[in-house]
């Protein structure tokens, strides 16, 4: 018995230290050997260990995998996890993730177990591209929850575990440089981002100040092409333990400058389709994006071991991201003045945007062993997330190419169009306290009862300010366009609203308090380990908006609700290598604070409005997994089946004029009608989501394969609008808008997801190569309120190649080529339409296309251990 135990321990030790072949040739009798100390958790093997031991369904991405793939941010690495796909922005940078076909709003991100607020007002949780890979120890993706975890993860929970102080002194310096293929082929269109004023005149001079033209800068709206510098990336980290290993320190800092771009087109539809919901196509916009992303981070962690029973840890993380984006577009109208290709009304637009986001996160936690049966761990966290979006503006000029009676196409003068300049900023502060008490009763030593609490206090301030400039008429029909420098605006060359537009529902302060208590019990009996528990979460949200109560609604909004979230996890060990896991948990999803205000954006005859009456979604989630782990040989197989039943999912809905916008009595009616076509988030009955995941890791000597495939199927029934004649048989009857039910999958859910990675590892020579392909099947990109007009994204495959070579003990050279297949984004509508340019797929109307090219990266790392 003892020998067997020893054998297992030795296996484990050797396996964990990374030698792929067992060193055992003959049976040897050893004295008791105690192997103690903390294993540096960097390897893939450790990742598989964590997955196996966990009773919940989770995936682990280890530091080794991150380094091998030269991932830059957390979002890059997420796409390798089974059941997960990423959403990319307009220049191809991955940001948010879709877990098991569930939109990002159904999942949350935590750092070391604590949630992080978001600088983005539309999303509750952090976009993963804010997270640098250099500070990550490993990434955990939980697909089932336990009661001790915050309950708003219907899709899943991503936990970023940051690096801790190493056992031995470690110094690492890494730099890398890269280039995007897009900039080998195109020049970068830049504006002077230094000229952007962070504060609008309202913020600088007060609400009574009338801004004039001189209060606004011009250089940030002058655009010029230039050559772009190569991308730069640098990381430094250092750590060691001091004071006889009681105090551990790790500090890390990094910066990154990345240039991406894309070119493509967008086909605009009218807000309303035509009869039979045939899309009404109005414009063809050819556009290019030029983006620079500058990121900085500073990370520090200290941990102090008082003794074996008490330990304290402290983390500090500061992340700063500045995204500078230029968009230039030529918008040709397909409806106005269009008598054939090359004609029509034309708008020339150049847009300048800066987004500055920063996050400061402080985390203190302690582990205490209070006796042999009782232990306590607690965390206190304070985070500040800020977003600043100053002076967003799009300089526009109108012209046209019209066919004259003589058959010649004439270009009309290029005239200046109105300009809007927008300032927005928000600050979100969050303070959390998390405490857990663990108790092992002496009568049942294999039972562990845990109870705890999580108190979250979040405060958000949002500011919105908009100035509108109208051009004066200087010659002909308007003002010839010469650029921003010499533009002449009405009203003293200033905005028509010199005090800015601040008192809208977009300016608000909000408070959200979530109080949670839970109790859970874990019990091991023979082959079975069970964990069950109940979590209670009480949510209170208050919004205070700047809107004047005399004119519009809702200066104060108060929302309160309570949820009970039970969960049950079971692990049945078939033998040392095989497990079966079963899980059921209930979770919820809360709307973002933005969604529950009375905001209202008005486009011509079309509104987008907020909904304070939006209910949160709750879901019952069932999972069954069969897994095989073969430690030492690095084999792992996971087969998972899941089923989710989501109540009150909320989706974008179109309301007709007579539909209820808010159930608030006003003007003699018991409700407020929408009055015009309005888009609003609304709850629906029930959606279901089920699927099957397959994941495999196998090593054949030097060659490794990791493969996964996910099949997902979801259904939701939604009310949509449809345009038809009152009597479809009678062409003289009036055109009306009716409601129809449509069943569709959830937004972001791909039916098929797959990933295949091949790695070749030559430890003797220090070479490692990794080829990773990720297939994302077609999915709904954006839901439309109109029947059968959802926007679908075409399936695509991303292929990346990474190579690294280690030189001696300290040096490592790495390179990466990403997006080798030049996958871009293509969005389409089902059903073809004639007369629209750039259509290549029969039976589909391609409405958006973007190509961002391949990226190249080359770097070197110096590491002293």
């Amino acid at each position: 018995m003892k020998q067997r135990y020893l054998l297992y321990t030795s296996f484990l030790t050797l396996a964990v230290w990374g030698t792929p072949h067992a060193a055992f040739a003959q049976k040897v009798v050893l004295d008791t050997v105690n192997v103690s100390g903390r294993i540096d958790p960097v390897s893939e093997v450790h990742g598989r260990m964590l997955e196996k031991i966990s009773v919940q369904l989770m995936h682990v991405i280890s530091r080794q995998s991150i380094e091998r793939n030269s991932d830059i941010t957390v979002a890059d690495m997420m796409q390798r996890v089974s059941g997960v796909s990423v959403l990319r922005n307009e220049t191809g940078i991955p940001g948010r993730v879709v877990i098991r076909g569930m939109d990002p709003k159904y999942s949350y991100t935590a750092v070391n177990g604590m949630v992080i607020p978001s600088p983005d007002e539309r999303n509750r949780y952090l976009s993963l591209d804010l997270f640098p890979a250099g500070i990550i120890d490993h990434l955990e993706v939980f697909k089932t929850l336990r009661p001790s975890m915050a309950g708003d993860a219907i899709g899943g929970r991503i936990n970023i575990v940051t690096r801790q102080a190493p056992e031995h002194q470690e110094l690492s310096i890494q730099t890398a440089s890269g280039y995007s293929q897009f900039y080998l082929d195109n020049r970068y269109l830049a504006f002077d981002n230094g000229a952007v004023q962070t504060k609008s005149p309202y913020e600088r001079y007060g609400p009574d100040y009338n801004a004039t033209g001189n209060d606004f800068t011009k250089n940030n709206l002058r655009f010029a092409t230039q050559h772009v510098d190569p991308d730069i990336q640098g990381n430094v980290s250092w750590g060691r333990r001091l004071f006889s290993r009681k105090l551990g320190v790790l500090v890390a800092a990094g910066l990154q400058a990345l240039h991406t771009g894309s070119s493509g087109f967008l086909i605009l539809q009218n807000n309303e389709p035509q009869l039979g919901n045939a899309p009404g196509i109005t414009d063809f916009i050819k556009r290019n994006y030029y983006a620079t992303s500058n990121r900085k981070h500073v990370y520090a962690t200290l941990d102090y071991k008082f003794n074996d029973k008490h330990r304290l840890r402290f983390y500090q993380l500061y992340i700063n991201k500045q995204d500078i984006e230029t968009r230039d577009a030529v918008d040709t109208s397909l409806a106005e003045g269009r008598s054939g290709p090359g004609t029509g009304r034309i708008a020339i637009m150049q847009r300048a945007r800066i987004a500055r986001q920063s996050m400061e996160h402080l985390h203190l936690e302690g582990d205490h062993q209070l006796g042999s049966q009782l232990s306590l761990d607690w965390s206190g966290v304070y985070s500040v997330a800020q977003g600043n979006y100053p002076d967003r503006a799009e300089l526009t000029a109108n012209t046209g190419r019209i066919l004259g009676a003589d058959g010649v196409i004439q270009q009309t003068p290029v005239l200046l169009a109105p300009l809007e300049r927008l300032w927005m900023h928000n600050t979100e502060k969050e303070g959390d306290i998390y405490a857990n008490l663990h108790y092992k009763p002496s009568i049942l030593p294999l039972l562990e009862i845990t109870a705890g609490t999580l108190l979250q206090y979040r405060r958000r301030d949002n500011f919105y300010n908009n100035y509108v400039f109208n051009p004066a008429i200087t010659s002909g029909n308007g003002q010839p366009f010469t650029g921003i420098r010499n533009a002449v605006w009405l009203n003293n060359n200033g905005p028509q609203n010199p005090q800015g537009t601040v008192n809208t529902a977009g300016t608000y302060s909000a408070k959200e308090d979530i109080t949670a208590f839970y109790i859970q019990a874990g019990y091991q009996t023979g082959r079975v380990y069970m964990m069950a528990g109940l979590r209670e979460e009480q949510t209170e949200q208050r919004v205070h908006s700047a809107v004047d109560p005399g004119i519009a609604l809702g200066k104060e909004i108060g929302i309160h609700y309570r949820d009970w979230l039970p969960s049950f996890n079971l692990r049945y060990t078939l033998d040392s290598k095989q497990d079966v896991k079963l899980s059921w948990y209930r979770a919820l999803s809360r709307p973002a604070l933005y969604d529950i205000t009375f905001f209202n954006m008005n486009y011509d005859d079309y509104n987008i409005a907020g909904n304070p009456f939006l209910q949160r979604s709750t879901a019952d989630n069932f999972d069954l997994r069969y897994e095989v782990y073969n430690p030492g040989v690095l084999d792992a197989l996971q087969l998972t089946a899941f089923y989710k039943r989501i109540e009150d999912p909320y989706e974008k809905t179109l309301l007709g004029a007579a539909d209820t916008l808010y159930p608030i009595p006003a003007n003699g009616l018991s409700y407020i009608p929408a009055a015009t076509l309005t888009e609003q988030l609304r709850n629906y009955g029930t959606a279901t989501n089920y699927g099957f995941e397959f994941s495999l890791v196998k090593q054949f000597g030097n060659i490794g394969i990791n493969a996964n495939y996910t099949f997902t199927s979801s259904h939701i029934d939604q009310n949509k609008k449809y345009k038809q004649r009152a009597d479809p048989q009678d062409p003289t009857s009036g055109i009306i808008t009716v409601t129809r039910m449509q069943q569709r999958p959830l937004q972001g859910q791909s039916k098929h997801l797959g990933s295949l990675g091949l790695s070749y590892h030559m430890p003797r020579y220090g070479w490692t190569g990794q080829l990773q392909g990720v297939y994302t099947g077609g999915r709904i990109d954006e839901v439309s309120g109109w029947y059968d007009l959802d926007n679908w994204q075409k399936a695509y495959t991303a292929l990346d190649l990474s190579i690294e070579k280690t030189f001696g003990k300290h040096w490592r050279l790495f390179g990466k080529a990403s997006n080798l297949l030049n996958a871009g984004t293509q969005i389409y509508l089902k059903g073809a339409v004639t007369g629209v340019p750039e259509q290549t797929d029969p039976g589909r109307l391609l409405i958006e296309k973007e190509v961002h090219g391949r990226g190249y990266l080359l770097g070197v790392q110096y590491r002293v251990l």
């Binding site: 109108n398 809208t504 007709g656 003007n667 339409v833």
Partner: protein, 470 residues
Amino acid sequence: MKKRLVPVCCLAAMLMAACSKSDTDVNIQPNDPAEGSYIADGDTLNTKGGSNGRNIKGILKAGSTYYLYSDYADAVVNTGDTLIIQSGVKVLFAGPSTGPKAIGTQGHAPGLIVNGTLLVLGAKASPVLFTVQDPALRSDPAKDPQSPNTDPAFKGYWGGIQGGVTSGDIIIKWAHLEYLGGLAPATDPARPNKARYGIFTQNPKANFVLEDCWLYGSFDDMVRVAGGKFEILRNTFEKVGFQAGECVNVKSGSVGDIAYNLVLGGTGNAFKSANAGGLSPQANANIYNNTIVNTGYRQAKVGEGGSLDFENGGSGLCYNNLLVNCAFGLAIMGGGSSVPIADTANIDYGNTYNYGDKTSITSQFLPSGYITAQQPTDINGGNATTPGANNPLFVNYPLPVPAGFDFINNDFVGNYNFRLQANSPAVGKGYTGFAAYGSVKKDATYGATEITPPGKDIGAFQQDNTGNQH
């Protein structure tokens, strides 16, 4: 083993039978409007005892003067209340004429919000007047033609008449409405700090009558009917739209007649029918016997927006319209399944009299890219007319226009007389084989005074002195 399993199973059962979802408590701060108060003589309509805005009802007595003070918010007629403005009433916009808080600046352009019924009952001899109090702020006719950049007509001194979703009838007869298009307050949920439409209606079930009025100067659309049964008859529109805006923009939920109107110098379309907004019934405008002169020049967007337009599911009839020197003629959007076409199956048109003094105008009588077809009953139909052909012979308006004539700022009626001389080619060429829709009942006070049927002569002025009475 069994002993331990039982409590675990109990726990599991308890959890499975977990509580049902609790309700969400939502508390919104209530928003009850104040009671409407009656108006005393010489009152300021939008403040009482210094209040910021006021709810009003009752009668503005004949011949009296009332004020809208620019420092305060809108005057509001509550749902269910009625405001009657008798003939000869003057509503003057008062406030500082210069300085940062001058009339017409941001937050200083109050209007009349109508959630109830509004009856403006002017008479030919004593019309109702809505204008700015200080004569120095008015547009001086002696300076016409003047640059739109400095012309006070576009200054938007007040917020116009904004009908709400629950409004009752809005009846306006024999009134001068001037200097419209003030900026909506920042707190306006739909168009914060954007220029308001001159007259805006939103209730498809209510009646909207605009008869024999003079609409002078607006920054954006002068009249937007986004719901309503309308009769827009025998009005004169001048200086409509600074760089965008239609005289009458008919959206979904609106059915009615637009007839016998005189339009001078609008920036976009004079009249447009487009079924946007999702209301029922479908936009349906019967546009006949209008005289439209010099429209479509101040706008920066080319291709259309000259005189008459049907698009995006709009329907209606279009006959007997006289279009003189309009940047673009009658535009009906169609052709190809991709663009948001007008409801062509339900549009009938003809007897359009085009006149142009330049090839750039005559070559767009049938605007490029639209499916408007030449009708045999058109005068100067098609795009091949010689400039200056078929002069409509107005009693007092220079045609052909003199050299150096600027279409942009010739947007005023002034001393011109657009009646037809006896030998005008427009006489007797009107089509009378159809009827007015008559969406609103005939009534001197609560309906339309006279729903003039289609005329024998093309244009707004008839030889038998029916039609436009200005």
